[in-house]
Symmetry: C2
Subunit: 462 residues, 2 copies
């Protein structure tokens, strides 16, 4: 399809409206006349007119032709420049990263560069889905969501020692939405919740949105500090929210012993663990899961396919007892009506595509190399990881003495480098001395040049 010619024709018409050669209500030349005048094919004009009707610029009157409907002023839209002079809060990194223009470097963001993602699997899935039956393309999802995807998730979970029934699995739009639904259903404003310190900044944003009281539990090399966890149970928390598999931001894999200790404490206190295993596909050897030990009576597992498949195709899941799932479905209908069945099908097709496991293998090797490289380059700047993770994308690093993460982040932002300051992940007194780095976003040498200059500048200004 001669896209350029159609676009040119559309622009000529828009220009004529703008310069008043065509005024509102006036009739356009016939398709044939206009094609002769522009020396293009009739089909080009037909398509250009049809698209301008779709855009609301022209109107088609049956048997009479095309008329100017739209006004001219809005054709030259300019996206308003958005400036976030906001303080570093739990949403700071998200807004900066999501708003970033092309060319901006994002070692602070929580996802892979788009050329590290399995685009071929997504393209293949889209083409496959384009051939699906009508109902998949245009109808709502069933309440529990895509059946085959739930079967696939159940099989994957079995490999992690978690047995599930299909009505214990619920397809959502994202891991974040999964947690949000769980919180809305189970918690009330003022309820106490245990979180890791540090933890994923958006957990903190979610907790703010729900007006909960968060009690931070120090996160050690083995997982949450079991002693502090036990003490915190006196505050009558209802839920412990954590990452299993690979922890965000520390990259730590929890030890089996800690999973066992925490599981026992949770059973005794009769509270729930919400374990988010969104980074699970980065693991070489899967870390133990709370759900496998304590079971679905005490654990709700959530996840998504965002990190290793696509963030553009929104699809996540909740695994919980079937009765709870049924209540969450009611809440989802009331507040979101349905999830995207089409997205679930795209994810399913991409996951069963034989090339996906191969892509994961490639990805893990890339990440391993990127992690080693990043550690070395940061060491030159006297920035060192607290632990060296065995897998994943994150390094949780101590900054040089005297350098504050929030100040460093604001300074680097001026040079188009978006960082993830520790204050976003923790309210602990020393959190400002830490920074999270996404090793997959640290390939460009500029990241380290900008960091070096900014650190020097901060040292001079003291």
């Amino acid at each position: 399809m001669a896209k350029t010619k159609i676009d040119q024709t559309m622009q000529i018409i828009r220009d004529q409206i703008a310069n008043k050669s065509l005024i509102v209500g006036s009739r356009l030349p016939s398709v044939r006349q206009f094609a002769i005048r522009l020396n293009c094919s009739v089909s080009t004009v037909v398509e250009a007119y049809a698209r301008l009707v779709a855009e609301g610029v022209l109107e088609s009157r049956l048997g009479s032709g095309y008329y100017v409907l739209g006004k001219t002023e809005t054709f030259a839209f300019v996206e308003t420049e958005v400036q976030y002079q906001r303080e570093v809060d739990p949403l700071w990194i998200s807004r900066q990263s999501l708003d970033a223009k092309s060319g901006v470097l994002k070692p602070g963001c929580g996802w892979l560069p788009s050329n590290w993602m399995p685009e071929q699997s997504i393209r293949k899935a889209l083409k496959q889905v384009a051939k699906s039956e009508n109902i998949l393309l245009t109808d709502y999802a069933t309440p529990h969501g895509h059946l085959e995807l739930r079967q696939l998730i159940a099989r994957k979970k079995e490999a992690l020692d978690l047995k599930t029934q299909l009505n214990q699995i619920f397809i959502t739009d994202s891991a974040t939405q999964s947690i949000d639904l769980i919180f809305r259903h189970l918690l009330q404003a003022g309820d106490v919740i245990l979180i890791d310190d540090p933890c994923y900044f958006n957990f903190r944003a979610l907790i703010q949105a729900h007006h909960l009281k968060a009690v931070p539990i120090p996160f050690t090399d083995n997982g949450p500090d079991a002693e502090k966890f036990e003490q915190a149970l006196n505050l009558k928390p209802k839920i412990y929210l954590t990452n299993s598999g690979i922890h965000n931001p520390t990259g730590t894999s929890i030890s089996l012993q800690t999973v066992y200790q925490i599981s026992k404490l949770v059973e005794q206190a009769n509270i729930l663990i919400v374990e988010d295993e969104i980074f699970s596909d980065f693991e070489y050897t899967p870390a133990p899961r709370y759900a496998a030990l304590a079971g679905l009576k005490h654990v709700i597992q959530i996840g998504s396919f965002t990190k290793t498949l696509s963030a553009a195709v929104r699809c996540g899941y909740i695994i919980a007892e079937s009765k709870l799932i049924d209540q969450l479905i009611d809440l989802r209908i009331a507040t979101n009506f349905s999830n995207s069945h089409l997205n679930a099908e795209i994810v399913y097709q991409a996951l069963i595509d034989g090339s996906y496991p191969k892509h994961l293998d490639w990805l893990k090797k890339q990440l391993n190399k990127a992690m080693n490289d990043t550690i070395q380059k940061l060491a030159v700047l006297d920035i060192h990881p607290l632990n060296v993770p065995t897998a994943g994308i994150f390094l949780w690093c101590k900054l040089p003495i005297g350098i504050q993460a929030a100040e460093l982040s604001k300074l680097c932002l001026k040079s188009d480098v978006i960082l993830a300051p520790g204050n976003s992940f923790s309210q602990a007194e020393n959190a400002g001395e830490f920074m999270r780095f996404n090793v997959a976003q640290c390939i460009d040498k500029k990241v380290f040049d900008v960091l070096e200059q900014a650190i020097q500048q901060l040292r001079l200004s003291v």
Copy 2:
């Protein structure tokens, strides 16, 4: 791609695992050996092995071959039969309709049959999107969402006399999510909200989820009763939630005079209207909009593309003052992180496809005929619309004297016909005498046969 042969090969392997000819940990034959044994091509076995790896059934060990990873018990999943013996509540129709198996008739649901939807535009859009650049396929959306789609919405709004800036438009996943975000941000439990009586049942489910106090305003042939509206302002409501364009369930188009009266009242009382124009693309002549009169200072407009494009591709929008949009973006990041950029692109591509306006024309004619036919067939059963709508898919009908909508609905459900009883739309005393019919879902004669038999049965049982 020989899908059947690959599937057969996968099934053979699964069966061998199930009957223990292949036990966990055992090595599979080489691809070549297995191909010879099954008398199929090597590529078929390669793809079958790869997919079973993707499913977590097999494991690939570098340089060593494929091994059985999964266990056998979960391969024969059976979807648990879900029975909803629930009472008629605001979620009754949604759960029944979304859970309906194929073959079930759904005159009570709020959407078109899938063969009335513009599937060709969706297929074309999917193929187009499959060729997009990486970033669109795998990355998050920007905070405000898809730029070109916002431009398109702005142009369409201008045709309805509403001028907007691009930072006043926010792409969400659905109209329901749009309202949910607005409520979460602007309202607290216990706040008073005005709604139409009757109104869309999911508005009532949303209001329940937010623990709001809803004050119903009788909805007349011209729109909300302005006198009752004015009286209700004494209760200090914060928001009036309504459908503009075509009202759900009555199908009524609001008059300009009513829009003017209500707009004045809203300005005086300094409250907000949330107008949902989800059915706007069914209109022949657009009804006046509150936003066009009272402006974005007093009106938030929301909508989606679910009803005329696809319910599987989740995409909606909010139009409001830019400051409010900015706050809603923060809330959306905290609770959903991102909307589906891919879905927004599919919607955009489908909307600018020249065939979409033609499909809408065809659809309106189909609906016009279906509405006339349904009115006639219902009249035979002594079921009559309160008003005859000028456009859209709904008829709000009075049942024969003595027949209760909830009883009739439960009875018809046994014959696989899902209805929309009046009690779901209103708590008014006489709401049980009404039923909403979706004329596009009333093509099958069985709808009227089942209705007739059920009405007879109810009459006999009195």
